[in-house]
């Protein structure tokens, strides 16, 4: 029985992550256009785009290899599966024992690896440029994220997301310098990884400083739909990850009833709306950064997470 509910909740989680991701993007775009005085497209627009793209025929370059065709599926599966690992509304998931932070980083890294390969596959200059920049960002963002994981793991003595959330819910650890530094660092990493302003501008095509869009320039039709959906799910995943580790309140734990699960879903929705609004506010108030400043930005994230880990040893009661 308990296993059955865990499987059911896991399926719900998979579907919720997929269904909500384009809505989150749509919400961010809507808030952003309201903030700059435009009326803005409905938050449903990304969903409509994806459905339309799914119906369209993909156009492939002559020299595209099988890897180019396989990549969208691999990327989408890896990211969707990673999203299934992050407890969004309940910690009672069938995959909870495998929901390890390091495994999560591994999934995201493999998705990025295939995306970068696909960017270079056709041989256009834009694709290669995007891939090389993506790897530059990744080389700095991944260690920062790992340092965040280390400080969280030292503090809670586990790398399992479900257990971290359960521990915070049952014994609050209070405000910790290390957690605050880890949160800031993780936010910086999330901004860089999801190609948001100030690192990348998600709203442009054919701009010299673009990163994510440059890699997917050659994709069309259902391939593009999958890649777009994967990037939407990735943003939702990061919001879910930050909410799970730093703000897990409202999440259902094993043994609680149906109502707790519903409440968990409701609070997750609220967290997404809040995160989307904050992100939109942040993006409209800041300008895009020069490519040469990425290193400083992400190096800053790395150093902050390092400081967080150092401060664990000064604070009381590790």
């Amino acid at each position: 029985m308990t296993f059955a509910t865990a499987v059911l909740l896991q399926l719900v989680q998979l579907l919720v992550m997929l269904a909500v991701a384009p809505l989150l993007i749509g919400w961010i775009r809507w808030v952003k256009s309201r903030l700059v005085g435009r009326r803005g497209a409905s938050p449903l627009q990304p969903w409509r785009d994806i459905l339309r793209l799914l119906r369209k025929e993909p156009v492939l370059a002559h020299q595209a290899s099988p890897l180019f065709r396989a990549s969208p599926y691999l990327i989408f599966t890896a990211i969707w599966f990673a999203a299934a690992l992050v407890p969004a509304f309940s910690t009672d998931l069938a995959l909870a024992p495998t929901a390890d932070l390091i495994a999560l980083i591994g999934f995201l890294a493999s998705a990025r690896f295939f995306l970068a390969l696909a960017g270079m596959d056709v041989g256009t200059s834009f694709g290669g440029l995007g891939s090389s920049r993506e790897m530059l960002i990744a080389a700095l963002a991944e260690p920062a994220m790992l340092m965040v994981v280390f400080s969280v793991a030292i503090l809670f003595r586990t790398t399992s997301l479900a257990e971290i959330a359960a521990q915070i819910l049952s014994h609050p650890v209070g405000l910790r310098i290390s957690l605050a530094l880890a949160l800031i660092s993780l936010l910086m990493v999330a901004i860089a990884e999801n190609a948001r302003i100030p690192v990348d501008n998600p709203a442009t095509h054919l701009e010299l400083t673009m990163v994510h869009e440059a890699m997917v320039l050659e994709y069309s039709g259902r391939h593009l739909a999958l890649i777009e959906a994967a990037s939407h799910v990735k943003l939702t995943l990061y919001v879910g990850l930050i909410a799970c580790v730093f703000f897990p309140w409202g999440m259902a734990t094993p043994g609680q009833g149906f109502a707790a699960g519903l409440w968990g879903l409701l609070t997750f929705g609220f967290k997404l709306v809040a995160a989307g609004t904050l992100l939109a506010l942040f993006e409209t108030s800041i300008a895009k950064m020069r490519v040469f400043r990425y290193g400083e930005f992400l190096g800053g994230a790395l150093l902050l997470s390092l400081l967080g880990a150092i401060f664990l040893y000064v604070s009381r009661g590790v």
């Binding site: 405000l175 910790r176 310098i177 150093l303």
Partner: protein, 220 residues
């Protein structure tokens, strides 16, 4: 002392340190001044919170002094100096920002390593406060040596003083008179710096400290 009081003072101290890093990261003079004023504001909040948590009224005076002098008057005055002198608005770091940040983290580690054995018997809060304030002082020094522009060096000096106040707030029983004298000496130093800036500018047409070095008489 309750858990929440500990957590809050702990977090405010950390924000002061974070602001020191933000100072190192800035590459515009005006945002440097804004960050400096934010640091002073956090420091004032930390002092006021300590005063509230420990029931020590003289800490409110410290908080008030910090708030008025360092969060409002000094940044506004520096702002006016920058506008008046029409200085080039970009900070010119003597070493790259990334290298400065790495040096900064090593300094924080160094101060933790220094403070931990010395304060082995003290409470966790004192230990942490000492580590934080020593780091802020060292980061201020780093800022002074890694910037060419005289205005950012002044800001570095002021942030050293913020670290001293943070230490003074953390150690229970620091007499008010010491804090007052520190605050006023900084005020005097600030005035002298202001005059110096005008003087340097008038004489050498620049605030770049490197250009002055050739007049030191050491070089042939």
């Amino acid at each position: 002392m309750s858990d929440f009081a500990y957590d809050a003072s702990h977090l405010l101290g950390a924000i002061v340190l974070l602001m020191s890093f933000a100072l190192l990261y800035q590459n515009r003079l005006f945002s440097l001044l804004h960050v400096y004023s934010a640091q002073a504001l956090t420091l004032a909040a930390a002092a006021a919170w300590k005063g509230y948590a420990h029931d020590e009224t003289h800490l409110y005076v410290t908080a008030g002094l910090t708030l008025i002098l360092k969060a409002i008057i000094i940044p506004i005055a520096l702002h006016r100096i920058v506008v008046k002198l029409d200085i080039h608005r970009a900070v010119e770091p003597a070493m790259s920002i990334g290298a400065t940040m790495i040096a900064g983290v090593s300094l924080v580690t160094l101060s933790i390593l220094l403070v931990l054995p010395v304060t082995a018997e003290a409470s966790a809060l004192t230990r942490e406060d000492m580590a934080l304030s020593l780091s802020v002082v060292l980061l201020g020094l780093l800022m002074m040596i890694s910037r060419r522009n005289a205005v950012s060096q002044v800001v570095g000096f002021m942030s050293i003083e913020n670290g001293l106040i943070l230490a003074a707030v953390g150690v229970a029983g620091m007499p008010l008179i010491v804090e007052m004298s520190v605050a006023f000496s900084v005020m005097v130093a600030f005035i002298i710096f202001g005059i110096f800036l005008f003087d340097i500018r008038e004489r050498f047409d620049s605030l770049d400290i490197q250009k002055i070095e050739q007049y030191r008489g050491e070089q042939e």
